[in-house]
Amino acid sequence: MENILTKQALPRWIEQLDAYQIYAPVREQEGWKYAIVDTPDSVTLDYPNTVLSLKSILFPQREVFLEFHSQNGRDLEVEELLPGDAQSVIFGVRPCDAKAISLMDKVFGGDYIDNYYWKRRNQTRLIGLACNEPVSPDCFCNAVDGAPYSTEGLDILMTDLGDRYFLESVTEKGEELLAVEDDLFQEAGKKDQKAVKDLRSGAEKKFERKIPELQNMPEILANLFDSDFWEQESMSCIRCGICTYLCPSCHCFDINDEVETAAPLKGVRVRTWDTCQFPDFTMHSSGHNPRSDRAARLRQRVSHKYRYFPEQYDAFLCTGCGRCIDKCPVGIDIVEVLNKAVDYEG
């Protein structure tokens, strides 16, 4: 269904959604982050993108799985701790971040259903905000099978038409959010539809970054597996976790027991983000690490996104948000790396 909501009426809509926890982008120092907002008036959707992606809410950096304790050191009591029951609506989600969540759905909903992930996912409604133009020069969603107006992973997509928003709801969950007892929404007219169409075709042309050989990447990367290409491209890499932690689709994790007291035994089992860039990633207990240097680590990051994931799930594990390019402390640019890989002879 397509609707029109005037910008003035946005706070009124949010007020009506009082059964939900409302997240929206808020300013923090130089950047933006998703935060729970208490006052509907404070919601602004005039922003580029958040520093930390949507995954930080649906796949938090720290997730407590269970609590364990033992009084006598022999009998162990274990209690599973699932996320709370709060239903949430997240406003202002950029299409790249929403698409990344739909990729994560494949991982956490495959052979093994991850209850922690799905509890949050099912309790959350995602309201997207289309990009009328790239929010940063590093954006490249339409170079990786995406679009600045993609609805993938979203429940509703909003498009800014100046004084009003054009709303498309694409799921049942989205329809529910629009079913409020008020005359907040008007049906979208032909004029609005045309305005949206024009914006879309205009936006598509504003992206400068291209990956012409995208569809051949799995094969190109497979052929470069043992190449010194990776050593050359990773020379300046300092092995920090920025690219992967800021990435909306990177989902590697680690599980640890955090012991609060040893006697009596008490602690929690937690999942935290992990990254292929850290020295202990995939380290074997023997001390051997199959990805032991910067070249192998860059290869892992790029290959996971453009070779292994497409081979397994038939989709690229990169949605072109550009965060890894923008925030890399030494200017490593994944698009440049991919395009260089095409012609590499060595």
Binding site: G31, Q61, M235, C240, L246, T272, P279, V330, G331, D333
Partner: protein
């Protein structure tokens, strides 16, 4: 003004004569106006070399990788690595020499002066230009920068867009370097420890609240550590990579492996990481500001290390990296030490 042609000529000659194995410098990146680190091996690649106000990177960080490689290779390379250094970068080399991590003969230093200006803070620049994309940024006259956007060229003063660490910089050129490109300028807008003075006036409770809020933002990406030349430990306190388990390792031994900080990005663990790192910076941090620049969540890390730097300055008249022949702060002792208890 830096004579880039002369710099390239010098670099080319070094590579041609095989006096250095390769040269660490800067080149234009693929991401807009920003320069990136360059590893130049062939004389013909020297043309890539660039020098502009986005050459923020402290390239001495890469000497750590180089030293490790040299130490682990069977035939040790006896030629030095050529490296472009600014004033702050040079102090980092001096610390590495003091600590005997780096050998003088492994490095060929090419000094470059920031003259009246320094490096640009990208966040300040974005604010100043209201997020307009920058096409090019160059050094202008004196302490001014010339910025090119789609609307043309504008001139912006250093006060507005210069990185804080440069505004507080004490030496804008690498004193002691054998070759220095550019003028040895004593700057006028020097204001050492300005940021520190502001926070130090706050009462303890407010300082605690400030740092707690800052560290709660930390996502433990360790970019501050990874970009830092001083963080050269083979095993960092936060990475358990030295626990090799053999067939004989008992469960007890594994369980007893100390984890100094959990991976969880929670207040206590974040404090443990940042304060441990800070303690290791006493008398070592040269204020190149790379940690703060790299931080994706804007934690004002320089303040932490500035506190230690000023303490070293006040108590021991010691400035990190000012003299490669001086012993390191924490392993030196003099008879006129200001502390009674130690004499």
């Amino acid at each position: 003004m830096i004579d880039l042609a002369a710099l390239k000529k010098e670099a080319k000659q070094l590579l041609k004569d095989e006096k250095v194995t390769y040269l660490l410098g800067y080149r234009q990146g693929s991401n807009g106006h920003r320069a990136v680190p360059a590893f130049i091996r062939e004389p013909e690649e020297v043309e890539q070399l660039t020098w502009d106000p986005t050459c923020t990177y402290n390239l001495t960080r890469y000497l750590i990788d180089e030293v490790r490689e040299r130490n682990s290779s069977e035939e040790r390379e006896d030629r030095p690595v050529g490296i472009l250094v600014k004033g702050c970068d040079n102090r980092a080399i001096n610390v590495l020499l003091q600590e005997k991590y780096l050998r003088k003969e492994d490095v060929h230093v090419i000094g470059i002066s920031c003259e009246h200006a320094g490096m640009v803070d990208e966040k300040k620049l974005a604010r100043e230009l209201k997020n307009q994309p920058v096409m090019e940024i160059e050094f202008g006259e004196g302490d001014r920068f010339v910025v090119t956007t789609e609307e043309g060229k504008t001139t912006i003063s250093a006060e507005k867009i210069l990185a804080d660490r440069c505004l507080e910089c004490k030496a804008s050129y690498p004193a002691g370097a054998e070759v220095i490109f550019g003028d040895k300028v004593k700057r006028e807008f020097t204001r050492p420890y300005k940021g520190l003075q502001e926070i130090e006036t706050l009462p303890a409770g407010e300082r605690w609240a400030f740092w707690k809020a800052q560290f709660e933002k930390c996502i433990r990406c360790y970019a501050c550590r990874s970009v830092c030349t001083m963080c050269y430990c083979d095993e960092c306190v936060v990475d358990s990579i030295e626990l090799a388990v053999t067939a004989d390792t008992t469960a007890e031994e594994k369980a007893r492996k100390v984890r100094w900080a959990e991976r969880s990005p929670v207040t206590s663990e974040n404090f443990t990481f940042h304060l441990t790192r800070a303690m290791h910076m006493a008398g070592r941090c040269v204020d190149c500001g790379e940690c703060e620049r790299a931080c994706p969540v804007d934690i004002p890390l320089r303040l932490l290390y500035a506190k230690l730097a000023r303490t070293a300055d006040k108590m021991f008249d010691y400035e990190a990296g000012s003299d490669p022949d001086q012993p390191p702060l924490t392993s030196s002792f003099t008879m006129d030490d200001p502390g009674d208890f130690i004499r």
